[in-house]
């Protein structure tokens, strides 16, 4: 039969085909299909014989004829032979792509994805459409498996499969009206959702998908499904008919997850989409002010009776939040600034509709509870994404306790109803319980096994309350066996037997790319183990984030060696050629990039425990593999390894010496210096992490190390980093017509500075900031109105994002001032007035915060500067403070040092809002972000702690003192505390000989108004500030 086929094929190859009767061609293609279905070896041979080119010829040769047909017939094209022939050709492609990753390179080389998309755009015939989508899906799914392969990174298959036009075509199909029970249409919906799920991998692709109507369309389907399942009694206009099979709903939820993951804005786009808003406003409850009945307290009482268990959550009188770790309650004082970074978000978006988000979360919980297995997991995934995105803006809105309480209720609801579900799924995966014996059930089990841990991690990441809930549900107990099992050798599928001895008689490299099949990628069994391992590590990293108890439990489960083993990449010689010769890569041989990233994250969070750092982690020898990963080719791995290094270089870490001996100083310094100005965000993140690690290295190090590191970095470079690029930011702000309307901080109504950019502040004297929440990725916390970004707002959900002339941001500042400055009465009526929620404006502000490149660059800059300043601060800290300062004076020069410090304290610009402001006449200065001010003032403290002559040097810097003064009334208490500490150091009397100088210093301080500022702080709202101020005043009085 093969021979007859070959005969047909050869007569009908390339040139001859068009001339063959179409009918005969269709028959030949059908025969071809029957020949290769289920026979992977024959597929390979066919590709070698050039079948791909021929198929592309068949599919695209029709373009001319179909074009004319399309113009004269509106309905579905008649089932002529040409269509049948296309059907068959598409089926052959389907079958080829099913053969796995090896067939993807030839299919790509022949441009098959594009051909399929073109075909999809032209045809309306349901059968051909389904077949085309199926072929596309087969290609995409094999493609995604190939991307996880650690093999050649430069392969052409790394490009995105979907194009803008392709997305339009898909969305057109989704939008076409459904006829009830049409099998083909239902299948198409599912295939489209699956295609989107897998291809939405890059940020650019996700953004494209988010801009297309696809996201809203999926949301529509989900809402329709919920109405049909009577979760919500809906009285609005009839929506589209719901997807009829539960599988389709799951696929659509996965697709939504894929699109929205990684962006707060996109997540908001999803849950604020019109249908989902209508779902809760047009329901039985009818009016929007009844929507609280959807919340936790009323258990989603959408149909009159609660569909979820009712939760009674006591209201807290105050809006305290559990900060810090249980092991170090005192840390709370340092850490409660931790998430302030998001507060600006909160203030401008405080119109965020808490009833709506609570309803959405309850609804997703209800969906999860109504489903089983993988579907349930996907629903939980969606819930986690929504909850994380909401949290980004709901924090720290203490002025509305009702709002706070509702947020607490949501969190509690997820802790009680959501997390245990996820933990249960992890348990199922861990115990290998199967939900059935048929193929779909087995597939379901496999997906649960691969993804359950990941979803749990996503759900609890960043919420200590949820982490505790997960551990209470036994999560650690179930995750650890999964991690261990991922190292077990798996029986790999044995190769097929062939009657012909050698398949490749020709040298494969001489074949054209469309005939040469590629590597088969990792065996599916190994890939499965990798995915399980990656998930388990993610989950452990998330659980070990905050609680020492959890870290201990993880250690006791004996998985630290597994983390160590997971830090090993596949051997460099790994290639497909080796495997042909019989050497098979199993799960024990290494880890894929995704696993390496997860392992670094796990090592990072585990290393936050001081005791583990000094015991289990040293014993496991975790430093060495991490150091090796610093040199990994993938920049993402480098970054993750650097992050993990940060904690290993702490003063009390026993691994510090080893790492220094390995040459970590040189590596980190070169990493920090690698990217030039204007480099991408990724590069700056590496710089931040490297500087962070070096900063830790500086604290309590021997003098030689300090000097050597400084030398390696170069003082010129360091000073350049601290000051240099801020110039650009300034220019940007002052650039005419555009730019950022509100700078790094803005004054409020009372004329005080209000911080708008307020990233994570660091600790006190010795900066052991163990918590390095990525300052760039998520903390997009800045208010602005960038006209340029508005212009780019292609998707048309935006009016102007931030109308400068409107009072919005101004008002936001006011609200914030009532938060921070209790000295002022919560004044004007506008401050308490809550504007009517407008999802459009809200969305555009969320988007603006997240996506404007200038802001992102600026934030990256600030983070770098903060670390650089803290580097100097730690350099000066400790016994050899004075000699180090002398060293700096010698290298940089006193004038330059103080110039730079002054520069950090003076205003960076003038608030443009005041230019057209109605009420105020004076121009109000904008200061740099408080993190930078804290760091700068802390450096002053250290200088003041050096020798008396250094104190004298500092007190002689009149411009510096002048620039410093306004910060004593800074709204951020961390700044105020730092200021008073510095004064206390300055007025300290070293010995008797210093008394006269000390008195003179006090006079200087009095003269420039600093003493008065300290005295005013005696009545500060913050206890810490008051106590320091008291010491300060006493010292003044003793002089």
């Amino acid at each position: 039969m093969v021979d007859t086929l070959a005969a047909i094929y050869h007569t009908g190859s390339m040139e001859a085909l068009p001339e063959v009767e179409l009918e005969a061609q269709a028959t030949a293609l059908r025969k071809l299909k029957n020949e290769i279905v289920g026979h992977d070896q024959r597929k390979e041979r066919l590709v070698c014989d050039g079948v791909v080119d021929m198929l592309v010829g068949v599919l695209s040769s029709q373009h001319g004829t179909t074009g004319s047909r399309k113009s004269d017939a509106n309905g579905p094209a008649p089932p002529t032979w040409s269509w049948t022939q296309k059907d068959e050709a598409t089926f052959v492609i389907c079958t080829l792509a099913n053969g796995g990753a090896a067939f993807i390179p030839p299919l790509y080389a022949a441009g098959v994805p594009q051909v399929l998309m073109d075909l999809l755009a032209q045809t309306t015939a349901p059968r051909l459409r389904t077949a085309t989508l199926q072929a596309f899906w087969n290609i995409v799914s094999a493609w995604s498996a190939l991307r996880e392969d650690p093999g050649d990174a430069a392969s052409p298959v790394r490009v995105d499969v979907l194009t803008k036009e392709g997305i339009e075509v898909l969305s057109g199909i989704l939008g076409s009206t459904l006829s009830d029970g049409d099998h083909n249409q239902q299948l198409q919906l599912r295939l489209i959702a699956d295609i989107v799920t897998v291809s939405a991998t890059t940020e650019a692709m996700k953004a494209l998908l988010c801009q297309s109507p696809i996201l809203d369309q999926f949301a529509d389907f989900l809402a329709a499904y919920s109405i049909a399942s009577e979760h919500v009694e809906y009285y609005g206009d009839t929506l589209r008919p719901p997807p009829s099979t539960p599988g389709t709903v799951t696929s659509m939820m996965s697709a939504i997850c894929s699109i929205i993951s990684g962006s707060t804005y996109r997540t908001h786009r999803f849950f604020l989409s019109p249908t989902i808003r209508d779902l809760f406003t047009q329901s039985w409850l009818a009016s929007s002010d009844q929507r609280h009945l959807f919340g936790a307290r009323h258990g989603f009482a959408s149909t009159g009776e609660p569909l979820l268990p009712l939760l009674h959550i006591p209201a807290y009188g105050t809006t305290t939040h559990h900060y810090g770790s249980r092991a170090f309650p005192a840390m709370a004082a340092l850490q409660n600034q931790e998430r302030r970074g998001r507060s600006v978000f909160a203030t401008i978006t405080q119109g965020g509709d808490v009833d709506h988000v609570n309803a959405v979360c309850s609804w997703l919980l209800l969906l999860a509870r109504s489903m089983q297995g993988h579907s349930r997991l996907v629903a939980l995934n969606l819930l986690a994404l929504v909850n994380n995105a909401i949290d980004a803006d709901s924090f720290d809105v203490g002025h509305r306790s009702e709002y706070m309480q509702k947020n607490r209720e949501r969190k509690k609801q997820i802790a009680l109803l959501g997390v245990p579900l996820a933990a249960k799924l992890v348990q199922m995966a861990s115990e290998g319980r199967s939900s059935g014996s048929d193929r779909s059930a087995q597939n379901d089990d496999m997906l649960v096994k691969e993804q359950a841990c990941d979803v749990l991690a996503l759900l609890v990441r960043e919420f200590d309350e949820l982490q505790v809930a997960a551990v209470d549900a036994g999560a650690i107990k179930y995750i650890c066996p999964l991690l261990k099992k991922s190292f077990d050798p798996v029986p790999l599928a044995k190769p097929m037997w062939s009657a012909r001895r050698t398949a490749g008689n020709a040298d494969p490299t001489t074949l054209s790319p469309t005939r040469r099949s590629g590597s088969q990628g990792l065996p599916p069994e190994t890939l499965h183990a990798m995915r399980c391992r990656q998930g388990a590590l993610q989950a452990l990293a998330a659980l070990a984030e905050k609680e020492d108890v959890h870290r201990k439990a993880i250690v006791e489960a004996g998985v630290v060696p597994c983390i160590f083993d997971s830090l090993k990449p596949f051997p460099p010689g790994y290639s497909t050629g080796d495997r042909r010769r019989g050497q098979v890569i199993g799960p024990k041989d290494g880890s894929t990039t995704a696993v390496l990233l997860a392992a670094c994250r796990a090592a990072k969070t585990m290393a936050r425990s001081v005791s583990l750092l000094r015991t289990s982690l040293v014993d496991a020898g975790i430093a060495k593999p991490i150091f090796q990963l610093l040199h990994h080719a993938d920049p993402r791995v480098q970054l993750a390894a650097t992050d993990a290094c940060i904690n290993l270089l702490l003063e009390f870490s026993p691994m510090r010496e080893d790492l220094i001996a390995e040459g970590v100083v040189k590596t980190l310094c070169s990493q920090a210096k690698r990217c030039g100005p204007g480099g991408g965000n990724g590069d700056l993140r590496l710089r931040v992490s490297s500087l962070w690690a070096l900063k830790h290295l500086m604290s309590a190090s021997p003098k030689e190390i300090k000097i050597k590191t400084l030398e390696e970095l170069g003082t010129g470079w360091l000073i350049g980093v601290i000051r240099g690029e801020q110039q650009q930011v300034r220019e940007y702000i002052s650039a005419p017509g555009g730019g950022v309307s509100v700078g790094l901080s803005a004054p409020n109504a009372a004329g005080e500075r209000v911080d708008l950019l307020n990233p994570q502040s660091s600790g006190m004297d010795v900066d052991v900031d163990v918590d390095e929440a990525d300052p760039l990725a998520e903390d997009d916390d800045e208010q602005f109105g960038n006209d340029e970004a508005c212009a780019n707002d292609e998707e048309g959900d935006g009016e102007v994002m931030f109308d400068i002339s409107s009072s919005t941001h101004y008002q936001a500042s006011q609200l914030r001032s009532t938060l921070h400055s209790h000295n002022h009465p919560p004044a004007s009526p506008t401050a308490t007035h809550v504007p009517v929620f407008s999802s459009r404006r809200y969305l555009s502000s969320v988007r603006a915060i997240e996506q404007t490149p200038a802001l992102r660059a600026q934030q990256a800059e600030v983070a770098v500067q903060e670390q650089a300043l803290d580097f100097i601060r730690n350099l000066l800290n400790g016994e050899d403070c004075s000699s180090m300062f002398d060293h700096l004076l010698q290298l940089i020069g006193g004038a330059r040092i103080f110039d730079v410090l002054t520069e950090k304290l003076v205003p960076v610009g003038i608030d443009p809002a005041t230019g057209n402001g109605s009420a105020t006449s004076s121009t109000r200065p904008i200061y740099g972000p408080s993190a930078l001010i804290v760091s700068t003032v802390n450096i002053l403290t250290h200088i003041a702690n050096a020798l008396p002559r250094h104190k004298q040097l500092l007190i002689a810097q009149k411009p510096l003192l002048k620039a410093w003064l306004p910060h004593f009334s800074h709204p951020d208490r961390m700044v105020r505390v730092a200021c008073v500490w510095a004064v206390n150091s300055l007025t300290w009397i070293d010995d008797e000989s210093d008394r006269r100088d000390a008195r003179q210093r006090a006079q200087e301080l009095r003269a420039c108004g600093i003493e008065g500022a300290v005295r005013r702080l005696l009545g500060d709202e913050d206890l810490d500030v008051r106590e320091r101020a008291r010491t300060g005043v006493r010292q003044f009085e003793q002089l």
Partner: protein, 242 residues
């Protein structure tokens, strides 16, 4: 004892499943098991809406008939016509069909009049096995064993075969594979792969087992009422007493 039985029977009597529900279950059975003609007639008699997609039922009937008739190549082509994914992804099912095809080839040779077939008569069978079945054989022991057994049919004369080989020649095997295929086709269309009534019967058996394990008072034998034997020969006659 009698009283508990009476109460059980009363409870059974009290449960009055609606006629339309029962009709729906019957219709579902006819559709998923592939009886398009019966389904249409039944729809007319009961005023139920007819099967939505009659063509898809007929497709499955054609496949089933082909398998029952031993025309496996035709069956495989028909399945590929419905959806090539089915066999391309389900290697086991594909293997079963090919195995059946091999058996049919051997069967024709064995059935030839004449005493014993010459070795050369088996050449097509061997060629078929080499090309179609053996590539898959080393990947899993179950394939290998199935192939070996099938090949053994060529060695033993039919009258000397042990039962395990005989059952390969039994037409029951065709029916078994046909059921598998029907299920796979239904699954590929995202429909339930089994008639609802099968699930109901399984659920009933499970419930009875659970109830007995929990020592709930039940009659010793609860007939299904499907077989005539059930009606008459209820073990202790309880069903008749009431």
């Amino acid at each position: 004892m009698r009283s508990t039985h009476a109460s059980f029977t009363r409870k059974v009597e009290e449960m009055k499943p609606s006629k339309s529900d029962i009709n729906w279950v019957i219709m579902d059975y006819l559709v998923s098991e592939g009886y398009p003609g019966a389904a249409e007639k039944f729809a007319q008699e009961t005023n139920l809406p007819g099967p939505v997609d009659n063509e898809s039922i007929r497709e499955r009937v054609r496949v089933r008939n082909a398998i029952h008739g031993g025309r496996l190549d035709e069956a495989i082509e028909l399945i590929n016509e419905i959806d090539p994914e089915i066999l391309d992804n389900n290697h086991l099912l594909h293997f079963h069909l090919l195995q059946l095809q091999l058996i049919e080839i051997i069967r024709t040779v064995l059935a030839k009049p004449g005493s014993s077939p010459a070795a050369t008569d088996f050449l097509p069978a061997i060629k078929f096995a080499t090309e179609q079945l053996s590539p898959r054989a080393p990947t899993d022991p179950k394939y290998q064993q199935a192939l070996e057994r099938t090949m053994a049919l060529m060695i033993f004369p039919p009258e000397k075969m042990t039962p395990e080989f005989k059952e390969l020649l039994d037409e029951e095997l065709r029916r078994k594979v046909a059921v598998e295929v029907n299920r796979a086709i239904l699954e590929s269309r995202g429909e339930r792969s089994e008639a609802k009534i099968r699930q109901l019967i399984k659920a009933r058996a499970w419930a009875e087992q659970e109830a007995r394990a929990a020592k709930v008072d039940l009659p010793a034998y609860v007939p299904l009422g499907l077989d005539a034997a059930d009606e008459v020969g209820g073990v202790d006659g309880d069903a008749m007493v009431s």
